[in-house]
C-alpha cells in the first residue's frame, strides 16, 4: 500500500476524510490523473472500494472526472481543492449564523475569548462592532485607521453612533455624511479598543507595531467592559472634540452617558433636545422607558460624575451611565432627538 505521510493522513482525517479518501487523493496527486484500476493498483485500495471513494472526493470538489473509456480521475491541486473547501466552510458558517438568529437566547452568560493571532483578533474586533445597535466607541492609533475604515463606515451606515478616539485626525471623507460621527483627538495609545453598547469590548494590544501575535480578547463580562469604559472615560477627559458630524439629528444613539452629556453641553443652549431612554431604576433595579425634554447635564471630572437631566411626566430625573449610584437611573441606551 502506498504511504501517505502520517501528518497528512492525520490532518485530513481530522477534517472529515476517510483513510481511503486520503489515500486516493494522495495517490492522484503523486501519480497524476489515473484510471480507477491504476488508483487501486498504486494505492492498494480494493478495486470495488475505489468508486465510492472517488465519488465522495468528487462531491467534496477534490477530484474531477474526465470522460473516456476508461474514465480518468484528475485531482484538483491542493491549492484549488482547499480553496473550494474554504468556500464551503464560508457557506456552512453563513447557514449556521442564519439558523442561529432565530433560536439564539438573548440572555447569555458572559465570557471572554482570548486570541494571540492578529487576524483572528481583528475579526473579533469586527464582530464586536457589528453587534452594536446604539453606539460604538473605537480607540485606535492613527496608523491603523485605514485598516478599519471600512468597518467604521458600516457602523455609521447602520445608524449606530461612532465615537472615535485617535491621536491624529485622519482623512474622514469616507465617513462624513453617513451617520452620527464624533471624532476626538487625544495622546496616543498603541492599542485598538472597540466597545459596543456597553455590552462587549474587544482589544488588540500594540496594534501600531502590527505584531503577529498580540495579546487580544473579546469579552462580554460586565466587569471587563466596565474597566475599558473607565479607561475610555479617562481618555475622554483629556481629549478634544475635533469633528462632529450629525447627519441624523432625529436619532442620535448613545450608550455612554458622558458622550450624551457632552452633546447636551454643546447644543442645549441653542437647540431643544428630546430624549428616549431605556433605564434601570437605581434602588429597585426595574427597567423603565423614559421620555422627555433634556433640561440639563452634569459633567464633572473632579467628582467623576456624568449624567443628563430629563424632564419626564414624573418630574426631572437624572440619568447616569454604567454602574450609576448617585443618579435616579442607570442607562446604556439613550436616544437624543435634536431640533
Amino acid at each position: 500500500m502506498m504511504e501517505v505521510p502520517p501528518e497528512i493522513m492525520q490532518a485530513l482525517i481530522e477534517i472529515g476524510f476517510t483513510k481511503y479518501e486520503t489515500l486516493t487523493y494522495w495517490t492522484l496527486l503523486v501519480y497524476g490523473p489515473s484510471t480507477a484500476k491504476e488508483i487501486s493498483e498504486k494505492s492498494g485500495i480494493p478495486y470495488n472500494r475505489v468508486y465510492d471513494t472517488i465519488s465522495s472526493l468528487k462531491r467534496r470538489g477534490f477530484v474531477t472526472e474526465i470522460n473516456g473509456n476508461p474514465k480518468i480521475y484528475a485531482p484538483y491541486s491542493p491549492r484549488i481543492a482547499f480553496f473550494r473547501f474554504k468556500k464551503e466552510l464560508d457557506d456552512i458558517m453563513k447557514k449556521l449564523e442564519i439558523e442561529l438568529k432565530n433560536v439564539k437566547k438573548e440572555e447569555q452568560r458572559p465570557a471572554i475569548w482570548r486570541s494571540h493571532d492578529f487576524e483572528e483578533a481583528l475579526e473579533m474586533f469586527r464582530e464586536t462592532l457589528e453587534s452594536a445597535r446604539r453606539e460604538v466607541i473605537v480607540v485606535t492609533p492613527s496608523e491603523f485607521f485605514e485598516d478599519i475604515e471600512g468597518d467604521l463606515k458600516e457602523v455609521l451606515e447602520r445608524n449606530v453612533t461612532l465615537s472615535l478616539y485617535i491621536d491624529k485626525v485622519p482623512d474622514l471623507s469616507g465617513l462624513i455624511g453617513r451617520g452620527n460621527l464624533f471624532v476626538r483627538q487625544f495622546h496616543k495609545l498603541n492599542h485598538l479598543v472597540g466597545m459596543a453598547d456597553g455590552k462587549e469590548v474587544a482589544m488588540i494590544q500594540n496594534v501600531t507595531f502590527r505584531p503577529s501575535q498580540p495579546p487580544s480578547f473579546r469579552s462580554t463580562y460586565r466587569e471587563i467592559v466596565f474597566s475599558q469604559y473607565s479607561l475610555i472615560l479617562e481618555i475622554f477627559k483629556e481629549a478634544t472634540l475635533e469633528v462632529e458630524d450629525i447627519s441624523n439629528p432625529q436619532d442620535i444613539r448613545f450608550f455612554a452617558v458622558f458622550h450624551a452629556a457632552d452633546l447636551v453641553k454643546r447644543h442645549l443652549h441653542k437647540t431643544p433636545i428630546f430624549a428616549e431612554i431605556s433605564a434601570r431604576k437605581v434602588g429597585s433595579g426595574e427597567m423603565e422607558k423614559l421620555y422627555g425634554s433634556v433640561v440639563g447635564y452634569t459633567l464633572s471630572f473632579q467628582r467623576g460624575t456624568n449624567n443628563v437631566h430629563v424632564e419626564t411626566d414624573r418630574g426631572i430625573v437624572k440619568i447616569g451611565g454604567m454602574f450609576a449610584v448617585i443618579e435616579d437611573y442607570e442607562s446604556t441606551d439613550l436616544k437624543l432627538i435634536m431640533g
Copy 2:
C-alpha cells in the same frame, strides 16, 4: 434532545464533526457559555460524554474554557471558529504541497479542470503562472491588468519571461526593471489567457465583465495548450510591440519560438546572440541539448512558419516551435544570451 437543524448537522459531519460535537457546539451557541452539566441537560448528551466532546471542540478551536468552579465553556462564534478552521486548512494545504514536492511524479497524464467560479478560476490562472520556469504568455483586457499585476511581478522576479498582450498599455512601473518583459498591444479580447512553458494553459471567459460564474478551465492537454498557442500566434501577428524591457540579457527564456524569432529579428543586426536550447529532433523524436550562435530566423505569417537558425557544432539547424514539422528540431525551451 436538542434539535440541530438537519442541514447544519449534515454539513458539520461532512467536515469531520461527530454528532455529539455538533450538538454541543450548537447548544453552546444557542444558550451561550455553559457548564458541563448544563450542556448535558440542554443537549441530552450523556454527562460522561460531555468532557471528551468538549476537549475535542477545544482542540479544534471551536470552544474555549473559562476557569472557575464549575468551569464554564464558551463557544467561539461561527465567524471566529470558521476563521480558525480556514487557517488550519491553509496549514494542511501547505503541508501537502511541501510533502508532495519530493514525491510527485514529473510525468503525469494530462487533464482538464473546469470551473464556473470566478475566484476559483483566478486561482487556477495563478497556479498556471506559478508553474512556469521559462516563459509566461498572458492575454488580458486592460481593465483586468490591476487584478493580476502582482502575479505578473512574481513571474518576472523568478526570471521567467513575461510576454503580455493587452489592448491598452497600462502603467507598467510595477513591472519594469524586474526581468524580461515584452508588452504587445492588440485589439481587445475579453478573456484572460495564461500559458506557461507551452505545458499548461488557463482561461477565464469574459473576464472584462467580471461575471461571477464564467466558463473557465486549466488544462495540461497538449491539444488544448496548442489550440491556445495557435490563438496567441494569431494575436501576435496583429499585435505591435510597445514595450521591451530586457533587464536580464544573459538569460532570456522563451517557450514560444515566434517570440524568440521576433527578438532575434530586432536585435541580431546589432548584437550577437547565443542560444542554449532543449529540443526534440524531428523524425527521431530524441531530446537533445543544443548550443550555438543564432545566425538567423524565419517569421513568415503567410506560410505560418517561425523558427530560429542556430549554428551548432553539427552545422546550422532550424529550431521550430510546438508540433514543428518542417524544421530540424521542435523546442519549447530556448534560452537566449545577448551581447
